[in-house]
């Protein structure tokens, strides 16, 4: 596995200045750290899941990676080329634009209400692939077929389509220009469970057929588990844990990951309520966070003094498992599944 990763990100930061003007003079600049030093890689053909709750910065991270906004610091390398330095405004004109595409959460919101499905899918083909006329029409129909969208629906407007059909239009539009990395921002959270199953299977099928890599953002951990090879857990602008999906789900290491997993309701397993790990209070403010304090400090159930004097770095505690914690303890979380090998609790000194 020594092929270069498709996407390589390191030290990524996005700060939003919060300027409180006092008369004509500006108060000392404070800033909101939406993304605070994130590093990750996505390999070719890999599906990487990104989980985290509201306010963790995943929307901002996703928009940075899709190059819709510019980073404040850090590097983004795509297929070896540095794409972080090109301003977002100019990125749309480059050839990399077609390589990174996105499927949005709310298909209703992401489709122009005045455009037919055809026009929505044709838009990137016109702009990026420069297709016109019959070639354009052929490609749109081909992509519609690939996503299971009946061609007679191409002339319809969004308000005439069902939730599942709109989701397909969104996916068709994203894959039309043959991207290599597809960022999926909660693509099925607005859909009914029956439709979600179809769309997830479609996404997996497309990935195999077209050789895509996915960054799959979702708050539904069970869905992430289905599709993803690796997952990244995000909290307050930091990646706090990363590793192979099955391994992280079976034996989470970071306290936040443990709390998150214990909060997921599961079918036929009502004993979870007793084992619920609670994080009291609310997440800390992302404005001017103290760079020496762990973001979870104050809510964490296993804090030590080191947690408030040194920021834990994301480091490898086991092969392919990275955790940003001074006390990463790998404990198996009992789940209603096949019996797991007992994992010895590993406590490393910070």
């Amino acid at each position: 596995m020594l092929t270069a990763p498709l996407l390589e990100v390191s030290g990524l930061r996005k700060l939003y200045p919060m300027v409180a003007a006092k008369g004509w003079r500006r108060a000392p600049a404070s800033s909101l750290h939406a993304v605070d030093g994130v590093g990750l890689t996505i390999g070719k053909g890999e599906t990487v899941g990104l989980v985290g709750e509201s306010g963790c910065g995943k929307s901002t991270l996703v928009r940075l990676l899709a190059r819709l906004i510019d980073p404040s610091a850090g590097t983004i390398r795509f297929a070896g080329a540095d794409i972080g330095t090109v301003p977002a405004r100019r990125f749309g004109r480059g050839k990399e634009r077609a390589h990174i595409q996105m499927v949005f959460q709310d298909a209703t919101d992401s489709l122009n209400p005045r455009f037919t499905a055809f026009r929505a899918i044709a838009d990137p083909l016109r702009r990026l692939s420069r297709l016109t006329g019959t070639a354009l029409r052929a490609r749109v129909e081909e992509v519609a077929r690939l996503t299971g969208l009946p061609p007679e629906l191409l002339g319809r407007f969004p308000h005439q389509l069902s939730g599942g059909q709109k989701a397909r239009v969104g996916i068709a539009r994203a894959i039309a220009v043959e991207p290599r990395l597809l960022i999926l921002d909660e693509p099925t959270s607005a859909l009914d469970v029956s439709v979600q199953a179809v769309i997830l299977q479609l996404l997996e099928d497309l990935k195999q057929r077209l050789g895509l890599s996915y960054l799959f953002v979702s708050h539904d951990l069970n869905v992430v588990r289905l599709l993803c090879d690796r997952i990244l857990v995000m909290y307050l602008g930091h990646i706090v844990e990363s590793g192979p999906a099955e391994a992280v789900f079976a034996a989470p290491s970071h306290p936040y990951t443990k709390a998150l997993l214990s909060a997921v309701p599961s079918l036929g397993n009502s004993a979870t309520r007793e084992r619920r790990l609670k994080l009291p209070g609310e997440p800390r403010s992302p404005i001017d966070p103290d760079p020496n304090v762990c973001p979870l400090y104050g809510r964490c159930f296993q804090a030590t003094d080191a947690c408030k004097t040194t920021m834990p770095a994301l480091r490898e505690v086991m092969p392919a498992r990275h955790v940003a914690c001074h006390l990463p303890a790998l404990e198996a979380v009992p789940r209603a599944g096949p019996p797991l090998e007992p994992v010895a609790a590993v406590a490393l000194r910070g």
Partner: protein
């Protein structure tokens, strides 16, 4: 006339059918919906969008849209027939004996009134408190739903609070008068997973402390499984199956229930075993709807599925299936 909290069952809905008059036709929103909740029980009404679960909840509260018409059926709550009782009595029942919490808590609260005052309002309306006692009782309620620093927060406006906090305020409002039945309409949609867990745990705890019955409306089968003893599954305005939770998951008897369970990702599901449910909801404006509205999507369907009446197979112990060919 008043509600008898010890009536058995506490809430009994029978044969309820509701239609909506719209510009494009008459929508048969509910068709012969019936189920019962006993005192202190937790029941989940589970279904996808368009299944009619919210309509049922709103019918119990009497807050249906003006275009709705109840064409048949009864809703008996604590011995009172809510559909025919006079407006004055209904106003007394609502808020005091049965309360509802909504999806999207921030929009369900009055944006220009501090939360403490909103709780005091409902206490003054229904509770036996004087105007002097109300503010203190409101702060007590805020503490009971674990809002930190309740005295200071009572003066806060909804926009100053997070989604989870707003939902706690809604719960405080609903529980202020200690109702016998709490209806929770998708209370955690839009909330984070950890917040969802905390809110649902809070509801469960308060419900058991007051011996309050809960009707949870949700599309999330797993959520229903964690918090409710009984589950009623709805499809296109019809109840298809009712069962105690363990039995529903161990041996579902309606084909739709089985498909729904198979389509819900769980701990051990694999992508290729995730079931999709073919077809879509029937158009509820049609006049020629089949007796079983799931039949068009069902592999076990036959001609007798189209002809009313739909058979109800009861099995005592709270189980009910409405199907010609149960599993």
């Amino acid at each position: 006339m008043s509600v008898d909290r010890r009536a058995v069952p506490l809430l009994a809905i029978e044969d309820l059918s509701i239609e909506f008059r719209t510009r494009s036709g008459v929508v048969q929103a509910l068709d012969s919906v019936g189920f019962a909740i006993k005192r202190g029980e937790t029941m989940a009404l589970v279904g996808e969008s368009g299944s009619g679960k919210s309509v049922t909840a709103y019918a119990v509260m009497g807050i249906l849209d003006a275009a709705a018409r109840v064409t048949q059926g009864s809703i008996v709550f604590g011995g009172l027939e809510l559909l025919t009782v006079e407006r004055k009595v209904l106003d007394e029942v609502r808020g005091r004996e049965v309360a509802i919490i909504f999806q999207n808590p921030r929009t369900a609260l009055n944006p220009i009134r501090p939360i403490g005052r909103q709780i005091a309002d409902i206490l003054l309306r229904h509770g036996n408190v004087t105007a002097a006692q109300a503010p203190a009782r409101a702060i007590e309620m805020l503490a009971r739903v674990r809002i930190p620093d309740p005295k200071r927060r009572a003066a806060a406006y909804p926009f100053e609070l997070s989604g989870g906090m707003c939902q706690r305020v809604m719960i405080a409002l609903a529980l202020a008068c200690e109702p016998a039945l709490l209806i929770a309409d998708e209370p955690t949609t839009g909330l984070d997973i950890t917040t969802q867990a905390v809110i649902m745990d809070l509801i469960a705890e308060l419900a058991s402390a007051h011996n309050m019955a809960t009707l949870l409306i949700t599309h999330d089968l797993a959520l229903a499984a964690e918090y409710c003893d009984h589950i009623a599954v709805m499809h296109a305005g019809q109840i298809v199956e009712i069962a105690p939770k363990q039995q529903l998951f161990a041996s579902p008897r309606h084909p739709y229930t089985a498909k729904l369970i198979a389509a819900t990702p769980g701990d051990t599901t694999r992508l290729d075993t995730l079931a999709a449910i073919p077809g879509g909801l029937p158009d509820l404006r049609r006049v020629d709807l089949p007796a079983c509205r799931y039949s068009a999507r069902c592999e076990r369907q036959s001609d007798d599925c189209l002809v009313p009446p739909l058979p109800r197979h009861g099995h005592g112990d709270g189980r009910l299936v409405m199907c010609q060919h149960p599993l």
